[in-house]
């Protein structure tokens, strides 16, 4: 299925990229989406992204909840007028016959407060199963986007469960004789234990401050890409603190605000540098 999606989007002209090296809570946070959505330059990309959501872990005991799963992420900027049809073409490619199934676009507006980002779009339902998150981004890092990207995020486990008619992700056939559970169940158990019980709160709190500080100094050095990694690291650290139950409701807002401020500054720097680069090459 992933191979078919890779082929489909490569044929469409996407750059095929590989997962990012720092933990992200969504494929959207990969700089190949987040930063490349900024500015006027066209961009088409597709990649698999392992997403890490510490609070969603269930020790490998729940068939639908995991702290680690795989998204297939496509970003087309600017979005052409027929982009929905192109997307439905990708579903046909993996074997979903739109005439036989009930495909539905159900309003779902997306917002990522830690990135100062939002967009409008849908959940795509296939016979009632949510298989894709679909978003036309409007803002990133608090900046209005110049060219509107379409973001297509397939939930690969859900999609595979739908195609293989499985009721549990752990039963998905990953390769002949090897299930998704064989690959990931133990990892779910261990990471859930770490996320909920072991991760050292005081160390995490210290690290959060360090990432924040490093991000600011990198912004001063005008290095938006390494600075952005510090945003991702502080965001992930916050998520771990959250899973450890170390963040209260009001502190939550304060942490999110701190990450958002960093994200804004990095996005602004990225846009400025890109514009300066264009100006320089034009001169």
């Amino acid at each position: 299925m992933i191979r078919t999606l890779e082929g489909y989007w490569a044929d469409y002209g996407c750059v095929l990229m590989q997962p990012y090296h720092t933990e992200v809570a969504a494929g959207t946070m990969n700089p190949a989406t987040a930063l490349r959505s900024l500015g006027p330059k066209p961009w088409k990309v597709a990649y698999v992204e392992p997403v890490i959501r510490p609070t969603d872990g269930r020790y490998g005991e729940n068939p639908y909840r995991f702290q680690h799963y795989l998204q297939y992420q496509v970003v087309i900027k600017p979005a052409p007028a027929d982009i929905l049809d192109v997307y439905f073409g990708s579903l046909a490619a993996i074997g979903i016959d739109a005439k036989k199934h009930d495909l539905r676009l159900v309003e779902d507006d997306w917002e990522q407060p830690t990135l100062g980002a939002w967009g409008l779009g849908w959940e795509v339902w296939c016979d009632g199963m949510e298989i894709t998150q679909w978003t036309y981004f409007q803002q990133f890092g608090g900046l209005e986007l110049e060219a509107i990207p379409a973001e297509i995020t397939y939930g690969t486990e859900r999609l595979a469960m739908f195609l293989q008619r499985k009721r549990s992700a752990f039963e998905l056939e990953w390769a002949p004789g090897v299930t998704w559970g064989d690959v990931y169940r133990e990892s779910e158990r261990e990471w859930s234990t770490y996320n909920f019980e072991v991760a050292p709160v005081d160390v995490l709190m210290r690290r959060f401050g360090e990432y924040e500080e490093e991000c600011r100094s990198l912004i001063e050095r005008r290095l938006p890409l390494p600075a952005y990694d510090q945003v991702l690291k502080s965001s992930h650290t916050f998520n771990l603190l959250d899973a450890r139950g170390a963040v209260s409701v009001t502190e939550r807002a304060a942490y999110i605000g701190r990450v958002r401020d960093l994200a804004r500054a990095v996005c602004q720097l990225y846009v400025d540098l890109e514009a300066e680069g264009d100006a320089a090459s034009a001169a």
Binding site: P63, A98, E107, L120, C126, D127, M129, Q138
Partner: protein, 615 residues
């Protein structure tokens, strides 16, 4: 007159946007087409209107400079409108030109554009560099004048069943042509088909019907069922999974109905059943884990869960609730309920179904065999949900609900989180209104001292808005000696219906006494030996008699008795003002008389600050 069809083709619009367009299109038609539309139809992929329009748009008078400025301004104005200056007409002292109307055909593209841009939505987006903002991308426009296509080319059928362009021969043929390609443009017809297609016994507690009408272009009602083992789940958990998550209609038992937008019914049914069972499986998994832990054990796990930063954990909250329900006069059931009330905050199922907090705890309490009075109170603790929704039906539920609201308010106020402007993230206004309703409709005695001064002030402000009496009466009652929320409300209502012939004497007595005593220091305590005149002795006697009567009547909740007693002060006071000079030369006598007036004011003031009531 030609008939116009306008179709705005969109990517799938939210139901709310459909309703917004439905509300605005008639006015936009009047503004830009000068006519009320015959039909407005809205749905997820198209907004349409049909109207009979004039062949020509009307001539338009363009007012220019005043005639007195013909010399200086006529030339320029005429040039701007492409006429010579001697062609200008004069109306009411102004120069101007008549811009001839256009044929509707010529005017239409610009008018259509104005209608599209005139639609306003709650949330809008951009999708290309056209600068247009809309609820979702606009992908095609079609305007037909009778059989002539003026804007765009064609319409489109059902997104998947008939994706090809379709010719619309004329506005009159619009519905038939689209119905042939699996599109029902008329929202009322879609709703009718859905409601007719739903099997007997359907229900829609979460009101998803109106959304479903705008989720599909070609509604097909299908039925499904789920494994009966999921019936062990609390009914509302199953309902929430069906309705909020999947937009299904419960049919009772393990059956449900849903509305598809096409597809092979067997395939679609099987898929939807699998999805629902997946969700229920997920819920069962959590439910069983919770039940294994049990409500009593959950109640002991609250010390790790923060209620509110700076306000400790839910365990501490539970202790405060226990104290509050006791002080609210709660018995065994409400004390037990207070202990268990927040236990479900430690339940995993509440994390999945946050709207069912309280209810889930109640279900767990039932499974643990607690008396129904306790379970019902836990269930009802968050009621009332809105200004018109019911308050708890049980006494213990009302007491627990009041305790919870008092605690929320007190904690938020102590932490300085009172609502500002329209921002009220902790729902404190709703809590305050709920509290007032519990006192009024639930006849619950809520001593104001339980609220503390700031919260009491805030709650009483809500009471002013809530009570169906002029606000002055509530303000008067707030200043009374009544120290119970419901008592203040009842007093305000009693004052508001008090006939003038009874209100006036009290009002006059109160205002005269308080005016004269307003800036004075009394002697502190009345000295009977200094009372010289019979009239002042009569007032002192009346106060001594009436004041305790008012007090005891108020304590007994007998407002009419208290008011009757108050009236008795009126005529002695009248006589006093006729016969006695308050400002006596002897300063001790003067201070004693002022003290007498203060006593009168305070006795009547037990019933409120009458000066608030305009006379």
């Amino acid at each position: 007159m030609p008939r116009l069809l306008l179709e705005i083709g969109c990517e799938e619009l939210p139901a709310r946007a459909c309703r917004e367009a439905l509300a605005q299109l008639p006015a936009l038609s009047r503004a830009h087409l000068d006519v009320d539309p015959e039909h407005v139809w809205v749905g997820p992929r198209r907004l349409a209107l049909v109207a009979e329009v004039s062949d020509r748009t009307p001539d338009r008078w363009i007012k220019g400079p005043p005639e007195s400025r013909r010399e200086q301004a006529a030339e320029g104005f005429a040039r701007r409108y492409g006429v010579s200056s001697d062609e200008l007409e004069v109306r009411d002292g102004f120069l101007g030109v008549t811009a001839p109307g256009q044929s509707v055909r010529e005017a239409l593209p610009q008018r259509v554009d104005a209608i599209v841009r005139g639609l306003e939505f709650w949330k809008t987006m951009r999708w290309d560099d056209s600068g247009l903002r809309f609820a979702r991308p606009v992908r095609w426009l079609l305007a037909k004048l009778d059989s002539e296509t003026v804007v765009g080319e064609a319409s489109f059928g059902h997104r998947f069943q008939h994706p090809e362009p379709v010719e619309i021969d004329s506005p009159a043929a619009y519905l038939d042509v689209l119905r042939a390609v699996d599109v029902e443009p008329d929202h009322d017809e879609r709703r009718r088909r859905i409601v007719e297609g739903l099997p007997d016994g359907w229900s829609d507690p979460a009101d998803v019907l109106e959304e479903v009408v705008h989720l599909v272009e070609w509604p097909v009602v299908l039925e499904g069922s789920f494994d009966e083992r999921f019936l062990q789940l609390p009914v509302r958990v199953v309902q929430t999974a069906m309705q909020s998550h999947q937009r299904y209609f419960p049919l009772g038992g393990n059956r449900f109905a849903f509305v598809a937008n096409g597809g092979d019914p067997e395939v679609v049914r099987a898929g939807n059943e699998r999805v629902l069972e997946g969700r229920l499986d997920d819920a069962s998994f959590t439910f069983e884990r919770d039940v294994k832990v049990g409500i009593d054990e959950l109640a002991t796990r609250l010390d790790h869960i923060t209620f509110f930063a700076g306000a400790g954990s839910f365990a501490e909250k539970a202790e405060r609730l226990l104290d509050l329900v006791t002080r609210l006069g709660g018995g065994e059931a409400s004390r037990e309920a207070a202990r268990l009330a927040k236990a479900d905050q430690a339940a995993e199922l509440v994390r999945e179904f946050p709207d069912l907090e309280g209810h889930i705890g109640a279900e767990y309490a039932r499974l643990a065999g607690y008396p129904e009075a306790v379970c019902a109170a836990v269930d009802e603790q968050y009621l009332p949900e809105g200004p018109d929704t019911p308050i708890p039906a049980t006494e213990a539920g009302r007491i627990l609900s009041a305790a919870d609201k008092i605690d929320n308010l007190r904690v938020a106020f102590e932490l300085g989180r009172r609502p500002t402007g329209s921002r009220d993230p902790y729902g404190l206004r709703r809590a305050a209104i709920g509290l007032c309703r519990l006192a009024i409709e639930g006849s619950l005695s809520i001593p104001l001292e339980l609220l503390g001064p700031d919260v009491a002030e805030f709650v009483l402000e809500r009471l002013e808005v809530l009570l169906p009496v002029p606000v002055e009466f509530t303000r008067a009652a707030r200043a009374s000696g009544v120290d119970d929320l419901g008592g203040v409300a009842r007093l305000a209502e009693a004052l508001a219906v008090l006939p003038d012939e009874r209100l006036d004497p009290i009002h006059t007595a109160y205002t005269r006494a308080s005016r004269i005593a307003a800036n004075a220091n009394g002697s502190g305590e009345l000295d009977p030996a200094l009372l010289q005149e019979p009239a002042e002795r009569a007032v002192a006697d009346a106060v001594a008699r009436v004041e305790p009567q008012i007090r005891s009547a108020l304590d007994a909740g007998d407002l009419h008795g208290a008011l009757d007693a108050a009236v008795e002060l009126a005529s002695p006071l009248d006589r006093f003002f006729e016969e006695v000079l308050v400002m006596a030369d002897d300063s001790a006598v003067r201070a004693n008389r002022l003290q007498l007036m203060l006593d009168v004011r305070d006795a009547l003031g037990l019933l409120g600050d009458f000066s608030q009531i305009p006379r």
